[in-house]
Symmetry: C2
Subunit: 369 residues, 2 copies
């Protein structure tokens, strides 16, 4: 997507030196666009664990390139396969919850089974990682194409006024590779000339909305306005929102969806005001092992300091952290909540829009019949 | 209420020098407990306009003392009455929205009608302000007494476990003079030995929850935990909340209630999880001129910089402001939202708990029959 009119992804192979993987160090956004060159497998683990990259799909792609960099580094080693095995275990434990991380690592490692020629292994890890990255982009693009008619239909009823879309957290290209999930239909609508305006929830405590979503939309020239997470209900009451789209961290077979904390509150307000609430997600975010979500999806409790401290730009232009709560006070930091399927108007997937119901979800997994 | 085990109000007449009004400069909380001495009427206007004091009831009481300080200052003036009139107009315009401000000023000025003796005027402004302050305290205490049985009843069903109460924004003693409105039943329950624990919504964008409510509860030794505004829905889903109490900025005749933005979202979640949601308010917060609230109560839009910038304590221990959103980005800052009466379990007033309905509300205003 665009940044300063330059087309960009969140991760890419260096054009001149394919032994270098480039990423955006997202910890500095929106204050600085810092691009990093990753040359060593340890740098991949650091990038994931220290959250230079975040967002489940992007973490998976970054991890896949990690095995490629490990193969490059260890190509002279007589026990290359064993070293890759060891590295892949370290890699998988670099973030605790992202299911895409383990899936991506296992997928690359399976492709290497029985291979011994170092050059063949290097080529195979590279091509597997690149293909995986392109598949992620393709899935997001198809989510965009499938969601686009929803925006077009609302626009056709609006007599030229912009379509007002609300989103929560960052399910944009910074969380994937390109297009994003929740943002994909928005980017495609904008690029097609449909006027859209996005209400961006700040998304406390980590502020992924104001820091990342607002930044990427603005870079792509999509009009947007940041609001406190508290404000969405009032905008819906006032008829200032036409539709909502969020991403999903995990969706159960019955359609219940875990997403960044606060999503459930927006879904309730959407329902109370008869506004459609969509979840955009790749099929890989559906956990077919869970019959339902509200009681079964485990919700990560993160460090309470994410609530006590907040990062931003000081008057001197430095990135710094300040404490906003009484020193010594306690906080509790559930990272996600679970939106019951009944509040979801539809799931926008790479295979089309379906109802958030067991019947529709199962139809996308023919192997489950 | 207690601060560091010292019993304190948010405003008081200096014990040794009754020509001095003491306030807590709330702009420094929770990082510093700074007490100011106000000697001149101009200092009262500054205290209100610069938000050294905030909360509609406290603003009203502070303003009443403003006329007393003006009478003291101008006591030698041959046109004392005219000067007080002039001052009262300035005073009323020191904050745009607080209805209690104008009401308090008008109430004191009416008492002065026809008076000419400066000493009599000074005494009358003083006694009127003190009585008004004590009436505010009394109303809050009665709100506490009327809400207490709700907490006691839940406690009787909890087999010794603490009653889990959620609140939003600051409707505590810092917003009134003592006890608060939403917090009054909580303080009374705690003082009676009933174990309570309070979930304190951070309350973006001004963080009155984490900065003020958490501070005052902790000072009074009431266990509490700060949560991001986004988190309340999930806690309710998990059965971690027994009841909610908030304040009211304005309640219409049908029970619709304007309160700090985000209140509506919590009321929706409470309703979705069958958890009682109470609004605690003095009768003076009921606007008997409005038949309904959702469409009729005007909602203040505040400066968008309240969203872009946040104040806290730097690592060096200084109070400072940092920018959290992309420089140049836009934000929209509705300060309130409106909770429809249908989501409110009851209104806790100084005259008892009533339904959020026209019939019950009108019964408290006999002059309306």
């Amino acid at each position: 997507m665009k940044t300063n009119a330059t087309s960009r992804r969140s991760i890419w192979v260096n054009k001149d030196k394919p032994e270098i993987i480039n990423i955006i160090d997202q910890r500095y956004l929106p204050f600085e666009l810092k691009i990093c060159e990753l040359r060593y497998p340890e740098e991949i683990i650091y990038a994931i664990s220290e959250m230079q990259v975040r967002g489940a799909p992007l973490i998976g792609v970054t991890a896949a390139f990690g095995i490629y960099l490990a193969a490059l580094k260890e190509k002279q080693s007589p026990d290359l396969q064993i070293r890759l095995q060891k590295y892949s275990l370290q890699l998988k434990s670099s973030r605790p919850t992202a299911i895409n991380l383990a899936m991506a690592v296992d997928m690359v490692m399976e492709r290497l089974e029985g291979k011994e020629n170092p050059m063949e292994i290097i080529e195979l890890t590279f091509s597997t990682a690149v293909n995986f990255m392109n598949q992620e982009v393709d899935a997001c693009k198809r989510i965009g194409e499938n969601g686009l008619p929803v925006i077009e239909k609302i626009y056709s009823e609006k007599k030229g006024e912009p379509v007002q879309i609300m989103t929560h957290c960052n399910a944009g290209w910074l969380a994937t590779v390109e297009y994003g999930t929740a943002t994909a239909p928005i980017y495609l609508a904008h690029d097609k000339g449909i006027p859209v305006h996005v209400w961006v929830d700040e998304t406390r405590p980590r502020n992924q909305g104001s820091r990342l979503t607002a930044w990427e939309l603005e870079q792509h020239d999509i009009p947007c306005t940041i609001i406190a997470d508290n404000t969405g209900g009032h905008l819906m009451q006032k008829g200032m929102v036409d539709m909502l789209i969020t991403g999903s961290d995990r969706t159960a077979l019955n359609g219940d969806t875990a997403n960044k904390t606060g999503t459930y509150l927006k879904a309730l307000a959407a329902s109370d005001n008869n506004i459609p609430f969509y979840v955009a997600l790749p099929l890989s975010s559906i956990d077919t092992s869970l019959e339902e979500g509200v009681r079964s999806i485990p919700v990560e409790i993160r460090n309470e300091n994410e609530i006590h401290y907040i990062e931003g730009l000081s008057p001197e232009g430095k990135i710094c952290k300040i404490r906003t709560s009484p020193p010594g006070s306690k906080a509790l930091n559930y990272a996600f909540d679970i939106t019951p399927a009944g509040l979801i108007s539809g799931l926008i997937t790479e295979k089309g829009i379906i109802n958030a119901s067991r019947k529709d979800i199962i139809s996308l997994f023919p192997e489950m019949d």
